[in-house]
Amino acid sequence: MNTGRLLAIVIAAVTVALIVVGTVWPVPSAIAMAGSGSNLLRPSSSPQAAVQNLANEIGRQDWEKAYSSLANKNEFTELEFVHDLTGSYPSLRTYATLDSYDLRPLHASADEAQVQLKLRWSTVVGAFLDTRDLRVVRTGDRWGVCWPIVKEPRVPPQVIPVTYLRWDVIYRGTEDDWGSQDVEAPHVRIVDMHPVDRSRGVVIMGELLNEDVVPAFVIVRATLLAKNGSAIATEGSFDKISHVLLPKQVTPFLIEFHDVALSGVDSVLMEPSASLIAASADPVIGIEDQHFNAAPGASLSGKLVNQSGQVVTVAHVLGTFYDKNGQLVWVADQYVDRALLPQTPVSFAMALPADIAGKVSSERAITTTYSSGRFQ
């Protein structure tokens, strides 16, 4: 038997063995993903087992089973429990799936325990963490979780007139003759640009201003040029920017180049581009109680307050950080996982690297929003 055939047989055998192991002894998060039913679950004979079973049921979105296993279900309804995890209004939570979870026992006695559960939810814009400190109590030979419900505030039914400006665009047709007028693209300008070396590569940060009187959909691309004029790499800002800019609005942007050193870069070609977009000046979001928290765990925290009438499905907060000379040192961002209800503050905290935090003297935050059922 030749070497190649032997290798193929060995690989096939190892693969089959691993599949068998994974099926017979699955890890807890795999059970949550597989949705394979109670026969793979351990009975809630310990605090950790009870929390694990609950997490698996949450991962499978088996709300009835999860709710019925709770020790304090008389304090709230099943619907309130579901809304705590998925949101009562469409938000990032509504469209998230449980990627994995970690649990950490904090304290235990004969009849009561404290377990910290970290649920890692996966969304199209990245992951977010939901940490709950759970009290687990023993009833007979069974342990049950007391769920720390977070009840979402309800906005009372009312009519809220919206009188902010809205823009629509009518473009020229393809049949229009050369020279026929078309709507002018918005004029945008980069007002600040700063390239820095980071461990992973080069980062280009900056700020972009819409100096026009119409809303703009903006993207920024940058090309690093070597000393001989050749292009090293080209990247875009992706979502580290507020793509819709209203007139005179300023957005930060951050562009990352991996595996490139700034010493090899002679110049940077910046290409902001802007196109017209239908947009609304509503909703207006206030960012209150902004506080810069120094290292360790450096972050900018605050509260978003929706001053308008419509519910915001997804809010994206972008933070711009400056040193004492007013120079841009970092751009950070965070997606808020809960819907922004009118006049209801929602907290956020966006992290920034520890080495940058020491340089920060001032900061500025902006939000960009998406509401389902509305164009913008």
Binding site: L165, G179, V284, G286
Partner: protein, 292 residues
């Protein structure tokens, strides 16, 4: 007998000669230039049948012609301006010539490029207009032609320029007005005109002032009407940023102008410093102290 035969032979040869000469050297008489769309004719010499080709990148024609006769071309048979090769083919012999078709002298269409369609007020030479002049057959009229440009808007003043085309194109630059509004930019050649709409919008803010007053537990901040340096009110929807800085924190709100002013509520912290800005223009600052 022999002389009779010789005479007959010479006679036959002489009779055949004109026929032989026409086949070998059928001539072409072509016009030097033809105005697009007008009738013209081509004369040939000789006798017999031939094929006339008129070929260029603009058009291709083929006619079966009778040598020695005039071939007429009706108006609009040849209407695209350009350089044409005429080839008269008879058997294995070919006569060629060339002529040009030029654009008709009467303008019939303009391609008018006016940019930008939206710009700030009070910009010197901010608007450019370029005109290409065409005849009815979409040929560029290369002969110098007078083009008039006129820009008129909300103010009574009218800017006018008259320019002669060069190689079929004329251009000009105009100033945007001091007052915002819609302007009409017209290019005219004879009876043919083309109009573009130019939107003149307020420039950068020149004056940004706000005031603050208590509103329940919060602070109501409001700007005065925001205007540019020519006194035009900034467009509704323009974002104004209010920033409140206080011990231990900061609050900001981006508020769009509505009916020329921006207003919002902010937390009321005694000792807070409130500032206002739009774009990169900064307005006044207020130091708020709660009255006891």
């Amino acid at each position: 007998m022999k002389s009779r035969f010789t005479f007959l032979l010479v006679g036959l040869v002489l009779a055949a000669m004109p026929f032989a000469v026409a086949q070998q050297t059928g001539g072409l008489r072509l016009p030097k230039t033809v105005e697009a769309g007008s009738a013209f004719s081509i004369q040939s010499t000789g006798s017999g049948k031939a094929v006339l080709y008129i070929v260029g990148t603009g058009q291709v024609l083929r006619r079966n012609v009778q040598l020695g006769e005039t071939t007429f071309f009706a108006p609009a048979d040849l209407h695209n301006a350009g350089h044409y090769l005429a080839a008269l083919v008879e058997g294995s012999s070919t006569e060629t010539g060339a002529f040009d078709v030029i654009a008709a002298h009467q303008p019939a269409a303009l391609s008018f490029l006016a940019k930008p369609s939206r710009l700030a007020v009070d910009l010197h030479d901010g608007i450019s207009g370029v005109v290409y002049v065409f005849d009815i057959f979409r040929n560029l009229i290369l002969a110098p032609t007078q083009v008039s440009f006129q820009l008129s808007g909300v103010t009574r003043s009218v800017q006018m320029r008259t320019v002669l085309t060069h190689n079929g194109v004329a251009w000009t630059k105009m100033n945007s007005a001091a007052k915002e509004g819609v302007a009409q930019f017209v290019a005219r050649v004879g009876d043919v005109a083309s109009t573009r709409v130019i939107q003149q919008v307020p420039g950068n803010p020149c004056h940004l002032r706000m005031s603050a007053r208590p509103s329940g537990q919060r602070l109501a901040v409001e700007t005065e009407p925001v205007r540019d340096c020519s006194g035009n009110a900034l467009s509704d929807g323009t974002i104004v940023t209010f920033t409140e800085t206080y011990t231990g924190g900061e609050s900001t709100v981006d508020v769009p102008l509505k009916r020329g002013v921006a207003r919002t509520d902010m937390p009321a912290y005694s000792g807070a410093r409130i500032s206002v800005a739009t774009g990169v223009f900064i307005g006044n600052e207020i130091l708020w102290r709660k009255e006891r």
